[in-house]
Symmetry: C2
Subunit: 853 residues, 2 copies
Amino acid sequence: MQQQTTYSPLTLITPTAKMSAAVHGGRAKCLQRLIRLDMPVPVTVALSFDAVHDAAKGRLPDMQTLLAPFGDDPLLSVRPSSQDPDWGGPGAILNVGMNDARHAALTQTIGVRQATDMYLRFIQSYAIHVARLDPDAFYLPDTPDADSLRAMLETYEQETDEAFPQDVAAQLSEVLRSMARAWDGTTARLLRQAKGAPVDAGLGLVVQAMALGVGEGECGQGVIQFVDPATGAPRVVGRYISQYQGQELSRKSEGALFLNRDPRGPSLEEICPDQFAQLLSYGDLCRRRLREEMEVIFTLQDGRLRILDAIRVQRSSRAAVRIAVALAEDGIIAREEAVMRVEPAALSELLHRQVDPEADRDVITGGIAASPGAASGRIVLTSAAAQASAARGEPCVLVRRETTPEDIRGMHAAQAVLTMRGGVTSHAAVIGRGLGVPCVVGASDLVIDRKADQVKAADGRVFAVGDMITVDGTTGQVLAGEPPTLEAALDDTFQTLLHWADDYRDIGVRANADTPADAQTARNFAAEGIGLCRTEHMFFEGHRLGVMREMIFAEEGADRRAVLDRLLPMQRADFQALFEIMAGTTVCVRLFDPPLHEFLPADKAGMRDLATQLALPLPEVTERVQALSEYNPMLGMRGVRLGIAIPEIYDMQARAIFEAMVAVRQKDIKINVEIMIPLVSAMREVELMKARLDAVANAVRTKSKVDFVYRLGVMVETPRAALRAEDIAGHAEFLSFGTNDLTQMTYGLSRDDAGRFMSAYVKQGVYAEDPFHTMDIEGVGELVALGAERGRRGRPDVALAICGEHGGSRSAIAFCRAHGFDYVSCSPFRVPVARLTAAQLTLLDPDRPSRNS
Amino acid sequence: MQQQTTYSPLTLITPTAKMSAAVHGGRAKCLQRLIRLDMPVPVTVALSFDAVHDAAKGRLPDMQTLLAPFGDDPLLSVRPSSQDPDWGGPGAILNVGMNDARHAALTQTIGVRQATDMYLRFIQSYAIHVARLDPDAFYLPDTPDADSLRAMLETYEQETDEAFPQDVAAQLSEVLRSMARAWDGTTARLLRQAKGAPVDAGLGLVVQAMALGVGEGECGQGVIQFVDPATGAPRVVGRYISQYQGQELSRKSEGALFLNRDPRGPSLEEICPDQFAQLLSYGDLCRRRLREEMEVIFTLQDGRLRILDAIRVQRSSRAAVRIAVALAEDGIIAREEAVMRVEPAALSELLHRQVDPEADRDVITGGIAASPGAASGRIVLTSAAAQASAARGEPCVLVRRETTPEDIRGMHAAQAVLTMRGGVTSHAAVIGRGLGVPCVVGASDLVIDRKADQVKAADGRVFAVGDMITVDGTTGQVLAGEPPTLEAALDDTFQTLLHWADDYRDIGVRANADTPADAQTARNFAAEGIGLCRTEHMFFEGHRLGVMREMIFAEEGADRRAVLDRLLPMQRADFQALFEIMAGTTVCVRLFDPPLHEFLPADKAGMRDLATQLALPLPEVTERVQALSEYNPMLGMRGVRLGIAIPEIYDMQARAIFEAMVAVRQKDIKINVEIMIPLVSAMREVELMKARLDAVANAVRTKSKVDFVYRLGVMVETPRAALRAEDIAGHAEFLSFGTNDLTQMTYGLSRDDAGRFMSAYVKQGVYAEDPFHTMDIEGVGELVALGAERGRRGRPDVALAICGEHGGSRSAIAFCRAHGFDYVSCSPFRVPVARLTAAQLTLLDPDRPSRNS
């Protein structure tokens, strides 16, 4: 605020005028830059934020001073110049200064029709936007003639009891005052604050001499840019319209010309080759000197080129990457700046197929955007149907009330997943993101009618099994039919940008990957390793589920061991495949975590099948299933608790891991293996497990005659594990904070049940954010920080990480950097976002050590 | 250890000998006290712990020194003297010194048969306990004669290749060595450590001249005590047997006399009136000078009284209270000491009817002792059957796999509750304790067969509905039939002791009480108020459940309000009754907490009934029930989350509370009311609720024209609420830590699901204790301490408390005292225990301020 006192409220823009975007707004500052580059910008005066603020209060600037640079009888445009163009502002008002005399003069130079049209348009916009009269009374006539002009002037007089102002200074005063006041309107304020503007964001205005665009010789207005806004590729894009001025360039077709030479019709390049060449050189100048791709607004007045304005090219995420990389590769900006210029969140759009933004959307319902990307397919209601559909080669969308671990195969087979229940970290959402399958969850408006094989929408529409729908996991929409989509955009520039990012970031990024397919995705996205390999999915695949169930029904340890021995080679093969894909990196395997009842059927039919399969009486099966059911599975017999109660499972897993290590070692593949124990709440759990795992490792070493090392760590996901981290770190070489479960327990809030009220909670400001979406720094974060500090106290070189859904988020990465963590681990499709975010945070960190690279 | 060097290893016990229980053991020290009181104790030498320790290593004391005080040819007894008599020790060995010569001499004085019997018994005990020979080879003959004596001596020689030792010193050496070694045996060590003995607990021995108890004139041995061990009432209890020596006094009937004059037969009082009077005076002397009720072991030798030993009277819990109070009332001990002498846990026995300890127990199975007391009744398997049974006036035991809130009425109606699932803090256990209904949970051996209306035990026995069983909630046993029981013992001495305790304790004790009946129990046990009144039970009673369900099915806020208006007068009446019972104290009402699905039927039949009742189609009811079901109800839509989502419930409750306050105020009853918000995880929840409650309070004030105040507080039961306690205390006048839920969330462990593995976990030392039973100081405790500290930072005078199952436990009370909490709140039947525990902790606290009272 202080600095503003040194700026004049009115500044004639010249190359040396004292100006700043923070005082005069971005447009004014940009115009000064264009002038400095010797572009033919009409005379322009900038009003500072303070001047506009005063105008809103009725203290207008001195009109004589303001008008002096424009000469006698000027025609002026007034345009907004807010600090950030994204923050909006009132619409421009053109042709200020039109009056009866000017109209009469212009009929001589540009013709009656054009002059009358200009006057009519000015009266209209003045009446509506400045005098705030009823727009219905000021429609433009079909034929701009003397009658209609008289009629409109009379209407104005009737509505205001005053004649239409003829004095330029009077007009301009009112225009400035009305634009200044519009900025203070509630809607305008809310809109710009939603875009991040501060409460006291200021508005500047620029008053510019009109370049008419109508009249004798080649006159007109155009807009030109030099890259494709969708792809970022160099290309001339824009329009030029002869005998035209105004802001509806894109809507008007009469008089429109191509810019480049085009077989379909006349082009600016042909008609005015010199001016066109001039424009190209201006584009290049902007790019090099403004260090940005600009869209240039220009007029021709009797063939004379005028540059009215230049604004940053609006661009798709894909284009943003390409433009930033190209600018850096051309030496125009530094690589650091290219890395800073791309919004990390935008990257995730590029990783997935998208519904074409141009396409019509027939929205059935909206849910929570749980896994990005769009895919179409025919409705199926069961996992079995999804698999059958996949076998037939038909794309399908799996629609379920909610998914369970048994649905994994169906989710693999489906193009997209849609559920009625659950939130952003529900089973469907987590697995969907892991698999990269587009997913919308919590579409609670939909009702599945299994008997009728239908899905009913809230608007009464019914979609049958086999009907085509599209899941847009980026927006959360469910669409009828199959709108056109755009491909993922993992092109060279994308890779280049991320490799630059890797040069700057100072925290590791690993992926959560459970299957070889996940691991391959992680590798493709250059994850530095796997930070969380959940092994339970391995027990659902193929006929493993049957073996698993047999194990659950085994009476004694020895029987269980025998059954598990049959799973051993499969697990070993899983790990071996994973290790081979991740060769040269680190893989952190989390031991079996879920409660056993997840592997048992929930319905009568399933239990009957199981009874047949196991050759047991149905009541016995029913009873066992019941006995294993839990009130709060989240807080039940799972994780290390199972590891201690039924040690045979972890023994088998450990053996599979170690034997796989030996096997890849024999192929000369290097891999660092970490084993992570889930759901720890007491040090002794780790101590017991460590003894057991070491014993298995020794047995494998002895048998294979291959020596190997592994690192043992703990997934810190109960508040108690965080509190006791000092003890625990005594037995753990790394601590990986599982913020999903930690959030659930810290809040006492099940992520699967929170969906029903979370949005209302956030809306009422009870929670500032959904803590499953944005890490809760004040609560969960404190536990993580405290756990990290205590962990280090127990073992100074303990490795620290966050895994889980938060891992890839900006706030979590910032948190991890601040607390000196070693890496974050996130779903494979978040890896590029996390790499870029980590680089940006490092570059923004004033404390970062300077680099030589 | 250091001090032992100043004691001699062998000490002839005299009034002035330098002795200590920590060096010579309790028995030796007690014998010295008897000698100081001039009682006729035979010559006794004490061996110190060090001497015995040396003997075990083979370094025996000097026999000549040891034997010197006993004269020539002594007959000796050797008895153990551990520091605490509870720690056990080897059995006594009598008549050391018996040999052929002594046998021959004794035949002259006490007769052949008696002398031979003595010798045989000595050889037998020496052979078995000292020489460690096969007991089967050394049985006592029917007729103790010369042949049998010769045979036993030969057997001894055959087994050992040595003649039976004839030298007193040799015999005594071996006896000492064998007793010393027995103390080091594994079993003996484990047994005493289980009773709290330290690893290096020592054993002393006392060597005493035998007082024969056989021979001419009135000879015999007896034991006498002066209080009833079951009730603690003054009464002579014991036995005397003529011509007898040894330790099987209670088993032998031949020659047994009554002590007091008795119409059923001869008594010591009649035969030896002087000696009897002497014994009574010794009893009184012990009581006054040893400050304890003692059991005295004595012999008569030709009418001459000898006191062999005196030990603390074994006593029931009831007797312990009466004895301690009587000693204090007689001025023998201070009131503080009386308060310290009673084990608080023992009190809970007195609050409940018990199975007579003398009764035969036909144990069906064992489970977890969840709510103390014993009750018998006929088996019922449903709540409805329990209520029907109660209506017929027939006692019943409700047997369920597990109980749910719907079973409350059945639990009220039943004499006892037995479940197959759940742990010490399961629903059945918590409610059982609250109601004071004996309860055994987790009796997982039993199987309910609903079709056959039977319960099957693991041993194959089948108990049908209607069969009589007994639940012993004190031991956790389930018994067949109806064994005799003893009444609860809330007599005057019990009340006296607790009032003394109240004079000393420095922390408040409130009760968790949900109903007027609970409140009356709390009042009877002198709770200082209600620390936790759970209001949800109020919604299950009578036809309220139906109204509640209607509310759940209401579509809009207005409809819900209309339905809730029908509950309002009932809730108001509940609170009014509660306030009247608790007049003059404070009642803390916790607002509605459980998830709504607890009020809905779980089975098809229930849903059909509900559909009929609500006149809704069944599918709609089914769908709604399904929609409300939760994966993890513990972490779901309950507590303040419901309060925010469906504010009409809390509004109604608040109105009922405030109107009840106004109503009792109009009866001139004083009551302090606190309102507590459950399951808070963020400050804003409290802020929103406070605004809402204040609005209701204002409306009630305006309408009633009565002014009143209430205090608003928060139940801190999520880790996040503890972490954010500073913020939260800004809006809360008190913080009550709900350690049940806080434990569940800190460990990530559902109390209802933990039962399946908790005992194994504790057995393996994974958890030192069941954290639902004993508060986890290191984990949960840290959160509580941190919450308390931050709460005070946010509001220096914030009141702090613990409510929940831990509230009455010693460790929790100690914790609360250490952190300056205001009170603990526990189930009504724990209140006396908590009062006594708090007093003891205060008395033990070296920092407690001295008191004038």
